[in-house]
């Protein structure tokens, strides 16, 4: 089966509610200020527990002023 493909301009992506385009825009908005960490606890090659961490980097003043980074 050939690869299913979707192309969008930035304006289309910003205006869209399509989940894949929303994810792309979210990735751009997180860029440079979120460090993402993932830990999988695995036994015999079976993943049992997943720990996810998003670390938001911002000055305290920014967080106080905007309520979020």
């Amino acid at each position: 089966m050939a690869l299913e493909m979707q192309m969008a301009t930035p304006s289309d992506a910003l205006a869209s509610s399509d989940a894949r385009l929303v994810d792309v825009v979210d990735g751009l908005l997180r860029h440079g200020v979120v460090i993402r960490g993932e830990v999988w606890l695995t036994v015999a090659d079976v993943e049992l527990v997943f720990l996810g961490l998003d670390l938001v980097l911002a000055a305290p003043d920014t967080i106080r002023r905007t309520g979020a980074a």
Binding site: L3, Q6, P10, V46
Partner: protein, 215 residues
């Protein structure tokens, strides 16, 4: 409303922008500024950055989620003038094409498992499947590697994303090349989302106000 202005990025000092974006000249560098009340969220800053980028100007963008005050932007333009000037030359006519390859989540299928042993075996199979999909996605993305001057790859839970630094002037031929490869690639349930051109966010280093910039 504070009257403060936020930095969208840096460009050559002779660029012209439409309101509400203003240019503050610091030597040969122009600091692109927007009133805080007109760009209070990361999304609105991204929209303004896109407007600047779409005029065709060479442009070093800030991270949209990081609001940089005008005084810090001017200080960086002063102290990192040489690096900014070099980056503006390197990024002239270039933009970021984002390729996102994703696959369906297997979670629903796991919910149907009632026996623990069965669940564990099935979990193991899913892990192998995800590995295989990730390798397949990277194989496809590697086919496109020679379209760009630089690339950045991010692995995610249900996909792989790669940003390519490409010339805006070559976009039509690049789109055709991607479509051609996609039409002949055996991809199972993978899907590809191509967006761009974006300002080259992944090819300028994100910075705090104390250090800087670039590629």
């Amino acid at each position: 409303m504070t009257g403060q202005r936020l930095v969208l990025g840096w460009a050559h000092s002779d660029v012209h922008c439409l309101a509400p974006i203003a240019v503050r000249k610091v030597g040969p560098i122009g600091v692109l500024l927007v009133p805080e009340h007109a760009a209070g969220t990361a999304r609105t800053r991204l929209q303004h950055q896109l407007r600047c980028f779409e005029t065709g100007m060479a442009f070093v963008p800030t991270a949209p989620a990081e609001p940089v005050p005008e005084k810090d932007g001017a200080r960086i333009a002063q102290s990192r003038q040489k690096q900014l000037a070099e980056a503006l030359v390197a990024l002239d006519g270039m933009g970021q094409l984002t390729l996102s390859m994703t696959w369906a989540s297997p979670v629903q299928r796991l919910h149907n498992r009632t026996c623990g042993r069965d669940w564990l075996h099935h979990r193991k199979d899913l892990h192998a499947e995800a590995d295989h999909r990730s390798r397949t996605a990277l194989t496809f993305l590697d086919l496109l590697e020679n379209l760009s001057q630089a690339s950045r790859t991010r692995q995610q839970n249900q996909g792989v994303e790669r940003d390519l630094l490409v010339s805006g002037a070559r976009m039509n031929s690049i789109r055709q090349r991607i479509q051609k490869h996609a039409a002949t690639f055996e991809a199972g349930d993978l899907s590809l989302t191509v967006t761009g051109l974006w300002p080259p966010f992944s090819f300028v280093q994100s910075f705090s106000c104390n250090n800087g910039v670039i590629i």
